[in-house]
């Protein structure tokens, strides 16, 4: 078994590789991205988030030990009118260092942060962003400040306020006074499910 000789070489080579790996692991920087959640995870968890209704908000706003309202609107709008005990952090500045430390403090103290904008929509993207960077204690005020302020039409925004199908069909029927043709039919498109091609297939050798 003379081939067993010269094992020093392997040991040295393996050790060099091992060392390189160690150096690599140490040099390796943690990814800069502060995101702790992938978009897909966020999407999967979205139904779990319970939004804050105005009725709940009325109780919460006095309970400052457990809840804090964050007004995402401009300082001007905030000055004009805001929810009691709310703090003002315009959307553009939510990731500023001072606000991040504020959010961190709330997270540590288990204080629920309720975001609101003028409409509910304004708080949606900030909520997604904050949740994804790790603030699981952030919630959204249903209907936004409009609803809180008494505009009940804004309180349930995603409900259909018109009978879409009926309006478009009745409209079409009316327009089609001779009643020769059927109501305008929308064309539904069959969308072929197309997977993105991952790899160009080209012959081996």
């Amino acid at each position: 078994m003379q081939e067993l000789l010269k094992t020093q070489r392997i040991s040295i080579a393996v050790l060099i590789v091992g060392l390189l790996l160690l150096v690599g692991l140490m040099v390796r920087q943690a990814p800069k991205s502060p995101f702790t959640m992938e978009a897909t995870e966020m999407l999967a968890h979205m139904p779990d988030f319970e939004h804050v209704t105005v009725a709940m908000a009325d109780k919460m706003k006095t309970d400052t030990n457990n809840y804090i309202f964050v007004d995402l609107r401009s300082p001007y709008d905030f000055e004009v009118k805001h929810i009691d005990n709310a703090i003002n952090i315009p959307t553009a500045f939510i990731l500023d260092d001072e606000h991040i430390s504020t959010f961190n403090r709330y997270l540590e103290n288990n204080i629920i942060v309720v975001l609101y904008g003028q409409s509910e929509r304004e708080s949606i993207s900030p909520w997604i962003l904050l949740t994804e960077v790790g603030y699981s204690n952030v919630k959204v005020l249903l209907g936004g400040f409009d609803c809180y302020d008494g505009d009940i039409t804004k309180c349930n925004p995603e409900s259909a306020q018109y009978d879409y199908a009926k309006i478009s069909i009745s409209g079409a029927l009316k327009s089609d006074s001779n009643a020769v043709t059927a109501p305008v039919k929308k064309k539904k498109k069959a969308i072929p499910v197309k997977k993105k091609k991952k790899r160009e297939a080209e012959g081996g050798c």
């Binding site: 040991s11 994804e132 539904k188 081996g204």
Partner: protein
Amino acid sequence: MQKRYIFLAILFIAMASGLLFLPDMKEKSQIPVDVFLNDIHSNNRHLTSDEIAKRIINGDPMVFLVDVRTVEEYDNYSLPGSINIPLKDILLDDWAGYLDQDIVDVIFYSNDDILSEQAWALCKQLGFKNLYVLDGGLNTWFETIMLPKEPGELASTAAFDLFSFRTGASIYFGSGSTAVAVEAKPVKKKTIPVKKKAKREAEGGC
């Protein structure tokens, strides 16, 4: 000699098992967080119903409407030429070819603009381009386009112009009261997925 081999084997297994214990440091797929925040803050993603109606009527091939509501709601009513991607499916690979491209303008809509805003935020953070949201969703669409309100006597000419446009549009989209039947023409859609970096153009070694 044999000892040295055992040592090497142990070293080798240790290196291999190191892979198993690596902490999860996978790169996230999101765009940098400040870019994303900037996108959130700038409001140019919101298109009004008038703008979109105008573009559809003009046969703008760049308009690509995506209904993010449920299948039932979509079947009940949807805008002409729109496709249905329920919000829960929005990130499936099947749709990446439609959403991750830089040819057409993808316009999300739902009953209001909450679901569509969520769809926008989820897709935007992955770096997809040309994403828009129908301002106010279908509710505003019906309020303005399908059932336009006549402005008061004292309103400006612009308001009347807008009203006449909306009346025309409502006919186009199958509502309104005049006797002109207009076929709702679905917009032609073209989707060419964004070309990813040349992956493996090289022919395989052997």
